[in-house]
Symmetry: C2
Subunit: 229 residues, 2 copies
């Protein structure tokens, strides 16, 4: 079944930049393409938008199909419309980004993806299409946003230590952070809930665990409070 239009139109795709964090690195989720063009190359998960789904639904469907990842909060990043960005035909891509706790999600490649894996942002392979540019812009957005919105918590487990929290910011911002100032600032905002629990299964002295109080943050923000790291 084909479809005929009066004028040519670009094809419309979505691409997803999913950030995850482990002990060592800030990572991005990539898939290995199973089909041409760029067959065998690594790329951002994504694909064409269907007529009966919104852009965000398309992004979630492609992510689930190609990587097995679901239940995540996607935010629109930017729409890429350079004329030659796809060798097949004119394709405009709406890019989304998300932050996930890497351990919560099991990868499982399928459909057009031969493989799915996390790659350190410091060491990305050459990517298909303009996906290196898209990943770069997402990383820049993340760096810019993480200092004035508490989105970084999405990368951490529900319960975390202050050291884990600091390391998260150090990895994203790519610079060392002074421990004393950091703790003063983060505890001073009164957005962390100190738990009656400490780390388990660690060789060093077990540190106190904290939770981010999202409800409180929303209330404060309505009154004009601005998060700041």
């Amino acid at each position: 079944m084909t479809v005929t239009y009066q004028y040519p139109r670009p094809n419309l795709a979505v691409d997803c930049v999913v950030f995850g964090l482990d002990e060592a690195d800030l990572k991005i989720l990539l898939i290995q393409r199973g089909l041409p063009p760029f067959e065998g190359k690594w790329a951002l998960p994504g694909g064409f938008v269907q007529m009966d789904e919104t852009l965000e639904e398309a992004a979630k469907r492609e992510l689930k199909e190609e990587t097995g990842i679901q239940d995540l909060y996607l935010e629109q990043l930017y729409t890429f419309g350079a004329i030659g960005r796809d060798p097949r035909e004119r394709v405009v891509s709406v890019a989304y980004y998300a932050l996930v706790n890497l351990r919560d999600h099991k990868l499982m490649a399928a459909t057009d993806a031969r493989d799915a894996a996390w790659f350190s942002t410091d060491d990305l392979p050459p990517l298909a299409f303009d996906h290196s540019e898209i990943a770069g812009i997402a990383l820049k957005r993340l760096k810019g946003k993480v200092v004035y919105e508490p989105i970084g918590f999405e990368l951490l487990p529900m319960k975390f230590t202050l050291t884990q929290l600091q390391q998260m910011y150090e990895k994203i911002l790519d610079r060392p952070i002074d421990k004393r100032n950091f703790r003063k600032k983060i505890l001073g905002m009164d957005l962390l809930q100190e738990l009656d629990e400490v780390q388990v299964d660690v060789s060093h002295r077990a540190a106190r665990l904290y939770k981010f109080d999202e409800k409180k943050y929303r209330k404060l923000r309505q009154r004009g409070f601005v998060f700041e790291i």
Copy 2:
């Protein structure tokens, strides 16, 4: 000449939210539609993307065709892809926004637009499609951005008084600003160049004129400086 595809695809459009400022108000540029759907209704300038132009080029072309406005800096706002947003067929629209000095641009409606005019953001008519939503999101973005990036200067004439500058922020942020604190803050950033000129043709005592030093701002920003109102 028609074109046949294997699968249906959304049509792709661009829409533009152009902000301008006069003595009384923050305004948005609207066109009156000359064709169905929504014939005779006010709408954002915009139209379909052609195959040989980028998204930004399409936005500039439509703006020029429908309103006569050209030579402005467009920034991508957001891409709107709700399924029923256009009664004709599935249309995804990439929205752009811009800030201009209203007096620099003469309006001239043409092509699909029957008329073009500036409307106060406080008093917009009902708009075609989801354009009220797009305008609302653009206004929210402007309010959020104007406090930490010196984009507001684009709304002013090249040479302006401190009172004009303050009024610009008051109109965008929709709240009174304390004059003494404002002057201290804005002059303290050392981004304004005090000119050897005063206002002409005013009935009150002529005030000193200033210029925004964009070059200096760029240099400072590279060194980590953050503009803040």
